[in-house]
């Protein structure tokens, strides 16, 4: 259904209906923003990245195959754009507010100490995700924050489903090493294949 709507809108855009592009934008804006935010962890940067993605889309849409996978193309462009930004701003700290993270955590704790501890935890989590290698980070972000299927991730990343599984497994292994101490588990050395 979604794929059919994408195909129809692309065809209409090619025939001269500019409103079709507006509809495409509204269809995919949330997912693109979510992906951008999950990589950048910065609202303003994620908004800018979302704008850039749709500007690029408008430029290539006349030549875009209407039967092609438009969401995969959007996510790929977004990922590449965000990773490039991340490379340039590698030392920039987290800019999320406490209120945003509290909302994300779903926490209603009143203990100030809990917030302090959580703030440290937030920083560690984001640092751990940022430190993932690009392919592993892409696979993890697309699955964890965007709830994409393995097949969709494979199309987005331009690899096989088996490769996606491998990237995902390595990502969870690295995160386990970085964050295991925060769940009360002693950190142990983990090899690349995830085996202890």
């Amino acid at each position: 259904m979604h794929t059919d709507e994408n195909e129809l809108l692309i065809t209409r855009f090619k025939s001269g209906e500019s409103e079709a592009f507006d509809r495409l934008m509204s269809l995919h804006m949330d997912q693109v923003f979510g992906l951008a935010w999950s990589v950048l962890h910065d609202r303003e940067a994620a908004l800018d990245a979302t704008q850039e993605v749709f500007i690029k889309l408008h430029a290539v849409l006349p030549k875009f195959d209407s039967t092609g996978n438009l969401p995969a193309w959007l996510y790929r462009v977004c990922l590449n754009h965000c990773i490039d930004i991340k490379r340039k701003t590698r030392n920039v700290g987290l800019e999320l507010t406490e209120e945003e993270w509290d909302r994300l955590q779903g926490s209603d704790h009143d203990d100030p100490g809990w917030f302090l501890q959580n703030a440290e935890l937030r920083e560690v989590i984001k640092k751990a995700v940022d430190n993932l290698p690009p392919r592993q980070r892409s696979a993890f972000v697309l699955r964890h924050y965007n709830f994409m299927s393995l097949q969709e991730i494979a199309e987005t990343m331009g690899c096989t489903v088996g490769a996606v599984k491998a990237h995902l497994a390595r990502a969870t292994g690295h995160l386990r090493v970085e964050l295991a101490g925060y769940v009360g588990i002693e950190t142990e050395r983990v090899q690349d294949n995830g085996k202890l």
């Binding site: 909302r103 994300l104 935890l121 599984k165 990237h167």
Partner: protein, 261 residues
Amino acid sequence: MASCKNVADLFGAYIYGDLPPDEMKKLRLHIDECEECARELEIQSRVISMIPSEVPALSDEERQRIEWTVKGAIRAKEKPVRIGLFSPAFIKGFAFTTAVVAAFAAGTAIGLRSKPVKENTIVKTAPAEPAEKKPAISQPPDSVAEQPKETIPTDSVIPVRQELAVSPPRRDEIQLIWRGSDKRKPINSHNGLIPGLGQSEKDEAGADKDNQESWLPFAPIPDGPNSADLGNLSNPGNETSLDEPVMTPPSVSVDDTQNQR
């Protein structure tokens, strides 16, 4: 039995529930038999569940901002490209524009040169002061062509000749309306010609110049020049006293004018 290495590649997908049934079965069989892999899988599951998965939602203002920014960027890209000074497109456009301007200027110049000055044109200027009164009887010029441009007084009698000099009248357009007393008889147009205006036509027809009719719309001023036989101006044989006006303008009564002298 699957090796730990092969099973470890499935941990990530297993944690998210993305494994197909056959691989799910393979992994479960392995961790049932391998405590290390089972422990590792448990740790990874707890770490991943600790990481929040929600992303902030876009507000309506942010959605609108994205739309406007994208549309603005698209419009900016669709603006016409600047053309270089020596590009073929610029040269063509410049040449075309120059040709159009030159043709327009030439046409205007030709039109201004060939346009003749209209005869008997009346140049309207500021209205004359009420205190100034011009004589009701105007001396007709010798020829129509010599009639100078005069201002039209608004509060005095306008000679018919000047009034009709604005545009050549036609026979059927001239209406002579008599508004004077019964003593004064209107004179019908003679052969369709208005007295005075038909001079040039009569000359062309070879009329006797000695019998040129001088035209007097009203009773002439005593000792005034060019008193003429007004009867010749109308039906032949119709003798009209010089004291009686031949014609009066429709808007002004001759009686009033005479009484004002």
